[in-house]
Subunit: 470 residues, 3 copies
Amino acid sequence: MSEPQHARAAACTRDADRLLPTDPQTRAIARDLYARVADAPIISPHGHVPASLLAKDEPFGDPAELFVVHDHYVTRLLHAAGLPLSDLGLGARAVEPREVWRRLAERWHLFAGTASGYWLDEELSTVLGIRTPLTPATADAVYDAVQARLLEPGMTPRSLFSAFRVAVLATTDDPLDDLADHRLLQGAGLRVLPTFRPDAYLDPDGRDFVERVERLLSATGSPQTFTGYLDALAARRAHFVANGAVSADHGVLEPVAADLDAAEAERLFGSVLAGTADARQRATFRAHMLLQMARMSVEDGLVMTVHAGVRRNHSTATLRSFGPDTGHDIPVPTSYTDGLRPLLERFGLDERLSLILFTVDETTFSRELAPLAGFYPSVRAGAPWWFLDAPHAMDRYRAAVTETAGFYRTSGFVDDTRAFLSIPVRHDTARRADAGYLARLVREGRLTLPGAERIADDLVDAIPRAAFRL
Amino acid sequence: MSEPQHARAAACTRDADRLLPTDPQTRAIARDLYARVADAPIISPHGHVPASLLAKDEPFGDPAELFVVHDHYVTRLLHAAGLPLSDLGLGARAVEPREVWRRLAERWHLFAGTASGYWLDEELSTVLGIRTPLTPATADAVYDAVQARLLEPGMTPRSLFSAFRVAVLATTDDPLDDLADHRLLQGAGLRVLPTFRPDAYLDPDGRDFVERVERLLSATGSPQTFTGYLDALAARRAHFVANGAVSADHGVLEPVAADLDAAEAERLFGSVLAGTADARQRATFRAHMLLQMARMSVEDGLVMTVHAGVRRNHSTATLRSFGPDTGHDIPVPTSYTDGLRPLLERFGLDERLSLILFTVDETTFSRELAPLAGFYPSVRAGAPWWFLDAPHAMDRYRAAVTETAGFYRTSGFVDDTRAFLSIPVRHDTARRADAGYLARLVREGRLTLPGAERIADDLVDAIPRAAFRL
Amino acid sequence: MSEPQHARAAACTRDADRLLPTDPQTRAIARDLYARVADAPIISPHGHVPASLLAKDEPFGDPAELFVVHDHYVTRLLHAAGLPLSDLGLGARAVEPREVWRRLAERWHLFAGTASGYWLDEELSTVLGIRTPLTPATADAVYDAVQARLLEPGMTPRSLFSAFRVAVLATTDDPLDDLADHRLLQGAGLRVLPTFRPDAYLDPDGRDFVERVERLLSATGSPQTFTGYLDALAARRAHFVANGAVSADHGVLEPVAADLDAAEAERLFGSVLAGTADARQRATFRAHMLLQMARMSVEDGLVMTVHAGVRRNHSTATLRSFGPDTGHDIPVPTSYTDGLRPLLERFGLDERLSLILFTVDETTFSRELAPLAGFYPSVRAGAPWWFLDAPHAMDRYRAAVTETAGFYRTSGFVDDTRAFLSIPVRHDTARRADAGYLARLVREGRLTLPGAERIADDLVDAIPRAAFRL
């Protein structure tokens, strides 16, 4: 098995033991555990890379476009430091890419210790093989080196897909997407799977909700009744299943489900479409649709993932000027125990359901997610996500979840990224963090070395395959 | 002082330094601190071992019965892995014990890293002296070895009570229990103390509440008035005190107390018995009864323990088929500051009250329990309980509580177990975790070694004795 | 640069590596990072030392007065151990100071592992150079040694201000304070800055609210209208700005802001003064005033600090007997995301605002404060405060905040103390904790040593200067 590009580059420029535990004896165990899985194929069952990127397979654009403009992890910290997003190439006004890059370089120390700083360092050094550290003085040189590297052969998305050893990559897609790109890629031998993400069609408070529902109904030729609406959603899910989808993803503020009878649901559907439903009724509708999605998952086998607890678009002025996903989605306190109970009462014991619960409220790991995943055969505790998919947060997740639910009721790592080049880096981060946690258990006499080895292997393969039915 | 059986077995098969800190220098300090208390007598002031087990003193049943069927920590993880509880010997259908054991062995890797896995490993190796690791291949051999061991002399409950060096064991009992078993055991020189647990008689939402209240009133010959009801409870508490009880335990969803005047309480009592009280009124009644229990504790000296924050019987279908305590009690977000204030306003400064607050919501440790225990002479921060009585969670507890409240405002370890054989194992776990935390403080120059030694000693003796007035 | 008194004393009696990480290699890195900043000048931009202490510059009183009676961190733990506050010199009854000191000494083990125990140890050993450990047997000797030391030359407040290398010290002051002491001190070359703390004039539920508002209006000659009230507040802020203030501090139970139109605010002002506003209306008024304070901060440039989430005076009986700030302020669950949104919608993107959010609910660090500070240029995540300004809690803060927001969106350390002698000790604690955290990042290959050095330097200088506009 030949050493992949990114692993070789890392050997030159990065500390080979990075992220591993500080204690030398624990580190030595972790090093061996990590080595087993460092080059294992990548299973990426949830993320936001557009299928079109791989379908078109064009060379990447300029370094600013690739690493700054579209990465809201990066732009938000520059914005927090006082730089208007418009100075970073967001919004209407054009900004010279090299200028954006310089602005990043001048403020690069702000990223010290952050997850995004780590990923970007890794992408430059281990993925692209750039050995010059980024500083204000080297900004132009690094820019040129990255630019040159991006134009080399082997640097197109599909080549990197192979070089990164991606076994499966799931995208996140609109229910009305025709999924032509996915078919094309699967035809070309790349396992790129769509994910059904229906939020905009389920939440009466979402932008253009009524219009979207109408488009959904007309796309499937369904009548404007609640049953027609459910049929339309089921039809689109079937289209996703037929094109390889293994999961449906649900982003909700509150993880709350409601079980309504048919007549009540029909009435509520009428009033949300008519715009006469009040806030409480709209919330009930949303909650009922979460339960309906679970029902459909039971029927069509799509794994149900729930990403809960984020107040989206906190800054209205920023939303208006620069659109959503611009760095101001902020978590809120979250609880699953009572809110999801109606759903679990209906389907929680059903072996056909696989429900993966993600959180950005760490308090739920030991309090709710591990206990739920430790009893319901349908529930798994999702890997750390968003603000938590960082080395120390990953360690806190394992510490909080494992003692109650073990390793086998977790989802396996999910990179959840829009940044294609960050995929190997993020999986590498998770593998190192997990190796460190396992090593600690070995050193504490709680796990044998062979036991830890099996778990390390399973965490990058059997566990995500089981969770996502791959 | 002769080495006890379980300590000798441990030397053969387990890492002597298990659970101690990873850094060698800190570990060396921890090892010495642990050695001081490793064989100290066990004070178990709160748990769920039935007194009848010791009163009857019969040999333990088969390995499945002993280690699987009645341990919902174990059955829930097997259930989560897809095994119906009925396949594990729960419910009506009989299952061959050896078959249950095999099912555990086949899925033993699921328990890696969990607290229940650790305890079971310890029970097999250090308590029973089984040296064969449990695997699918060794399932039958281990079963036979355990079975044989259980029939050896010295393996009856009372013999083990001595071998484990149990100084005090508190059980948890129904207020109407006659406590004959406790009297018998105390007569035989075993300090087995009952604990008054009146939840079912205080919560209008509990099963058979009205019937239970009627039984209580008739058992004590009290009139069906609120005063009669309070007198009946006080009479049963007196019966417990007379039989050695030192504490009364209260399991509540929300730790909320309410101070009502006599007339209002009388009216509310009437309406909850008549079934005309609405949800809010029933909650007020429950909250008032928590305050009344504090008042009675002030009067009769029973330590008041509160175990809050668990949504019991989350899965109704499971409850119906298999009863309560079958692994689906799930924690909810909890707060004590405002909810308990009426109780603390009344009795918090009263030196006659000892109130120990337990939580399954870790966020309350630094935010509420340590500050409350750091001011009110009546309040102590309870040791980690349930999902949190695991090595890393214990360490988080000490880290969260100590810097505000120190060691002497905590309760000392409470094993809270139904599994008799796990008692020495759980106390050993806590002793190792505390030794590790103390060693860290020594290594950080925050504690002298003699200071740490005194605390290590006190944590297994003076501290629980003070908290539980033993 | 000559070695300061307190550093020399420390070398004699304390572990030079105290608080540094346990792993030797990480500790070695931390030691070097700490050495860079150990003797750096102290920037103390928020605290509660009264300006009069430095203005009068009288020798400190007796040891009990200095270290026990007025330090509610100390008295509360003694109170929790069963000692009435009246036995400690609080309240009307006089208690012999030496007797108070003996009572502390007898219970000194209760403080093992606590932050207040650590500070007091440090104050005695490193600040005062007392080498005898405090025990019941040494109580009188230590008392005498402390007493003697306090009378030595160089032990007056202003001399210590120099010896401690305090570059800036902010006090916390009533809006109607004339600030004469601050002018006097600034005239004498001491940078002692007032802080505008208007809570009592903004919260209709506060004691004497109406009377205070009337005093405010009459002091500024403003009419009794909402506009007059706002003008009066602005005038007093201007007085503070003119006397060197850089910040306004706001202590609130819930961090909630409300945006009202002028007519509604005027009506509400009328009803809160008339005493006819209900609880909800009073809360709305409070919330609107928080927003008004942000508006004024935008206009006059005072940094806005918010200390949220504490239920003050939990024990009414204690409040009545001994007054506020006597150890029974208890935190509650806190959330900023939705509550502060109206304020951030109005001013969050305004570069004139610097808003520092402090919490005593650790759950908000990763969930809310880091994400808010990682986007809004106005927001900074405040350093650990109150129950959390302790070594392990500081480490948890860095671990929770840094991966999302880095180091440069935090406030820098704030000692928040009334205890003048504890200032160098608390800053030293923070410097050690931060050195330890940075060292961990270096050892994990996430930060270069020069990168960590720059951050260590900035944390004690550039970062608090930027946050507080010094």
